[in-house]
């Protein structure tokens, strides 16, 4: 156990000071019957060198994105991460500190949170942002819970577009199942986008909010203003799940009337990381700030009049308000949000636009190349998309994937996983990191997939 800094001598002295004979005496309070009857059965301890070797062996057996020509997206995207992110976000001062309960000892983190909040507000077009949620899916669920708090009086229904990431949808259902008198209804898609007719029919005076994702799970940019109009017509709140990179090119949801905007922050330099840690971002209109979940950093002054930052509106939170809190969230994803801030600040508005344009260009080039292949076509031709699109091929998508894997290509995600009725449908993502050569290789491989 290389972490306990006691010599044998220290332990003796400490036990003597306490007045016990052995360390085990200190565990007397645990009744014998409740103590472990044996040492845990765990693998023998390994050293760091062996751990390094395991990581190397694991890499050799893994189809990493460094080794594969990958077009897998579906909510998690391979974006360029500048070196500054790791170097600047991972100083021990940020990595090994706690939630800033003592603001005088945490001005660094509180400053970064404040700047992060500003950047998220700017991206989403909203007034206020919290300091992060766990990730995109639970952020959507929390957005619905917040909508219930804000607009749940006399209303009962949350409408969720089927364009929402299917996992987010299930998470939302999981969370809302337990909320009394609230139901989740799914708004169907039509031609790959939220069916506005259906939405208009389903939205009514009983509707708390409408949750829509754009670009949606199929990669298509939703007609946000039209969705907003349908929701607002019935007094429902508009909840938008957005891709943060796309917001460099897309009119921010705040501009077309969103009440809450949330989403996955992975794209902002979290990396792939097989599912996490990522972070969820969460922004809203000013008027709802007291219903927001999560930490918020606010500006203030100290006794000498100097600017400083504190966690503010703590009365929303579990450690103060307990069962009346807006959420139970405590530990959030601070470090990942900080990575997001460093990333956004390193790119600035121009760089972020370039990333987004690189995505747009590569995805459209890839779509064109694939659609031109015999037997292949865009699933939703004519619909606007950002960095991802669905295509239908001549073979089951699962088979295409298996076939291309052997050529070190991961062509995308089989949508049959969620839409049983579309077995040949593949969701293909191409971000700014793809080269023309890689896209050409994909097209060539698809042409001969069997």
């Amino acid at each position: 156990m290389p972490y306990i800094p006691h010599s044998a001598e220290d332990v003796r002295a400490m036990l003597a000071a306490i007045g016990v004979r052995t360390v085990d005496d200190l565990f007397e309070d645990i009744p014998k019957s409740l103590r472990a009857r044996r040492k845990p059965r765990l693998p023998r301890p390994i050293t760091e060198l062996e751990l390094q070797r395991e990581a190397a062996a694991a890499a050799a057996k893994t189809e990493t994105f460094d080794r594969m020509n990958a077009f897998v997206g579906a909510g998690v995207y391979d974006h360029f991460i500048p070196a500054v992110v790791q170097h600047l976000a991972h100083r021990v001062e940020t990595v090994t500190s706690y939630t800033p309960y003592q603001p005088e000892a945490s001005q660094g983190n509180l400053t970064f949170m404040f700047e992060y909040q500003t950047a998220i507000c700017e991206l989403t077009g909203m007034d206020v942002s919290n300091a992060s949620m766990y990730e995109g899916g639970s952020a959507c669920a929390e957005a619905c819970l917040m909508a219930v708090r804000v607009n749940g009086k006399g209303r009962r229904k949350i409408l969720v577009s089927r364009g929402l990431h299917p996992e987010y949808l299930r998470i939302t259902e999981t969370y809302l199942r337990n909320i009394k008198d609230v139901v989740v209804e799914e708004v169907p898609l039509k031609d790959g986008v939220t069916d506005l007719g259906a939405l208009a029919r389903m939205a009514d005076a009983d509707t708390i909010g409408v949750l829509v994702q754009t670009p949606n799970f199929l990669g298509i940019i939703e007609d946000g203003p039209a969705v907003a109009a349908a929701a607002k017509a019935k007094g429902a709140k508009l909840l938008v799940c957005a891709d943060p990179i796309s917001l460099a090119l897309l009119e921010p949801p705040g501009a077309w009337g969103a009440d809450i905007v949330c989403g996955e922050g992975q794209q902002l330099a979290s990396g792939l990381a097989y599912g996490g840690p990522y972070f969820g971002f969460f922004a809203a209109k000013q008027e709802y700030i007291r219903q927001m979940p999560g930490r918020i950093s606010g500006e203030t002054v100290d006794v000498e009049g100097r600017r400083g930052f504190v966690l503010t509106l703590g009365t929303r939170e579990q450690h103060i308000r307990r069962d009346r809190a807006t959420s139970n969230i405590c530990t959030n994803q601070g470090l990942l949000a900080l990575r997001g801030l460093v990333y956004l600040a390193a790119l600035g508005p121009t760089g972020l636009r370039e990333v987004a344009e690189g995505c747009l260009a590569n995805a459209h080039y890839a779509a064109e190349r694939i659609a031109a292949l015999p037997g292949w076509s865009l699933s939703f031709p004519g619909k606007p998309f950002f960095h991802e699109f669905a295509v239908d091929g001549p073979l089951p998508a699962e088979r295409v994937i298996a076939s291309l894997r052997r050529k070190r290509i991961l062509p995308g995600v089989a949508l049959s996983r969620w839409w049983k009725d579309a077995p040949n449908r593949l969701l293909v993502a191409a971000t700014e990191v793809k080269t023309r050569k890689q896209i050409d290789a994909l097209a060539k491989a698809l042409a001969s997939a069997k």
Partner: protein
């Protein structure tokens, strides 16, 4: 430390600057891919700075944080122990970092294996039938467990919607109950700081879905009668959830399943070292008994014929509470910890933590008042009421003054049941010398309170700012930066 107000990044921003240029796309950027009415009109306001300015901003400001690696950080309940660097490198290795949760499982067997093994290790350490590494943090794990309990009861006793919680509980417990659509029932603790089992039993009724108990509790005391409570709950087909935030005290020495607990969350970021990152990430696996297993969240990793696979097919599952299997990079930091410690090492966590807490406790006996003056587990609670009465110096003042003496303060004013409370958790990674120095500092601060209280009540004097106005922050809400309006004319 230079104490002038440093500008925000936004305030040093100048148009045209940038730290990280991107290459021009190799293929044309389509001009009208985005319909005009959906196209962004004005770019988002993001900082425009050089890489050098960026670096200085994050370096200078980060240095305003106190952190574990600059000094002792005895924040009770938070387990601010040292986080080994090798874990950081491990999770950045390509097999764990450069893989996508939706790529074919055959290509990511090693990471699946590790997540699978991690559940296995935690089953072994907690004694539970199953462990899910799905939830994102402790309170997320609480909520997930409550959802499972709720799901069980929806099938068997749909009327059950009350959860008993002692008043010493962490705020997340009642908050999770509400989020799960249930009602917390508050139960006062006994004067000795322990659960009032009699009172709890008396409160068990037809709507009781279960109880939440932290063990060791937030006072650092082991709940000796926990199994009695479990038995009473089980007798009426209700469940005992155990808050495992304090698992650091007993890991390797006792297994919560043996206490009669039915489910439990584990804050990996506490007991199993994931650095807290100024607020996260954490990871909050849950353990559960067989009876609750059908309700556990999806997805899960399963092993079949030596291969690992992600399984979604659990008809009674509550469903997912987050996207993807796990917060893999966080969870596997803890995996590395368990792999490098082994059984004996894990056990020494608890032994070291309890030894340090008790040593520090006796060192502080003549400075602070101890409402529960007895052997503690990994942490203990002291009260500053006496000091406040004698000198007017509050616990908050002592906390701030500790910063001047080079120490992060303990948790203060929690648990709520102890007035002027200090909750001190040294963790096992601190040396005797550090504990001695901390005790010394508290002694000196008490002296100061007696002789020169103003120096304490106006502390801290060595931080970049002094006492911040929290009331103003909440009243004149400024939660984002805005540019100064351009001067007229």
């Amino acid at each position: 430390m230079h104490r002038d107000d440093d500008p925000l990044l936004y305030e040093t921003s100048r148009p045209g600057l940038r730290a990280a240029p991107l290459p021009k796309p190799e293929v044309p950027v389509p001009a009208d891919a985005i319909p005009a009415h959906l196209r962004r009109k004005a770019p988002p306001l993001l900082p425009e700075v050089t890489e050098g300015e960026l670096a200085r901003h994050f370096v200078k400001n980060s240095r305003k944080n106190v952190c574990v690696e600059t000094g002792f950080y005895p924040l009770g309940s938070c387990t601010m122990k040292y986080n080994p660097k090798r874990h950081e490198d491990f999770v950045m290795s390509p097999a764990l970092f450069r893989v996508h949760p939706y790529q074919p499982e055959e290509g990511v067997q090693p990471v699946l294996r590790m997540l699978w093994e991690m559940s296995d290790f935690l089953e072994e350490l907690t004694g539970f039938h199953g462990v899910s590494v799905h939830p994102s943090a402790g309170s997320h794990g609480e909520l997930t467990c409550l959802m499972m309990i709720r799901a069980y009861h929806s099938e068997h006793h749909p009327e059950r919607d009350e959860i008993l919680i002692p008043d010493s509980a962490h705020g997340t417990n009642p908050a999770s109950v509400t989020m799960c659509g249930m009602k917390p029932v508050n139960v006062p603790s006994r004067p000795d700081g322990l659960l009032d089992i009699q009172a709890m039993k008396a409160l068990i009724g037809p709507r009781t879905a279960g109880a939440m108990v932290t063990n060791p509790n937030t006072l650092g005391l082991f709940e000796r009668q926990i199994h009695d409570l479990a038995d009473a709950l089980h007798a009426v087909d209700a469940f005992l959830f155990m808050d495992g935030a304090n698992f650091n005290a007993i890991v390797g020495k006792a297994r919560p399943a043996d206490f009669g607990a039915d489910c439990m969350h584990i804050n990996l970021h506490k007991t199993f070292t994931i650095p807290h990152g100024g607020g996260g990430p954490g990871s909050g696996p849950i353990g559960y008994v067989e009876k609750l297993a059908p309700y556990a969240p999806t997805p899960v990793v399963v092993k079949e014929k030596g291969k690992f696979r992600i399984d979604w097919n659990r008809p009674k599952s509550i469903g997912p509470v987050r996207t993807f299997l796990s917060s893999t990079g966080a969870t596997l930091r803890s995996y590395a910890y368990i792999r490098t410690l082994g059984a004996e090492g894990v056990r020494r966590i608890a032994e070291g933590a309890v030894l340090n807490a008790n040593y520090l406790r006796v060192k502080l006996r003549d400075v602070l008042k101890f409402p529960y003056d007895r052997t503690c587990m990994h942490e203990f609670v002291a009260s500053g009421t006496d000091l406040k009465e004698r000198t007017g110096v509050k616990t908050l003042d002592v906390a701030k003054r500790l910063l001047d003496h080079g120490f992060h303060p303990p948790t203060v004013y929690f648990p709520l049941i102890v007035p002027e409370c200090l909750m001190i958790e040294p963790t096992e990674t601190e040396s005797k010398a550090t504990l001695d120095a901390f005790a010394d500092a508290l002694h000196r601060i008490v002296k100061e309170a007696e002789t020169d209280p103003a120096v304490v009540t106006t502390a801290p004097h060595t931080m970049p700012v002094r006492r911040l106005d929290e009331v103003k922050a909440a009243r004149d809400l400024r939660v984002r930066w805005r540019p100064e309006p351009a001067p007229a004319g």
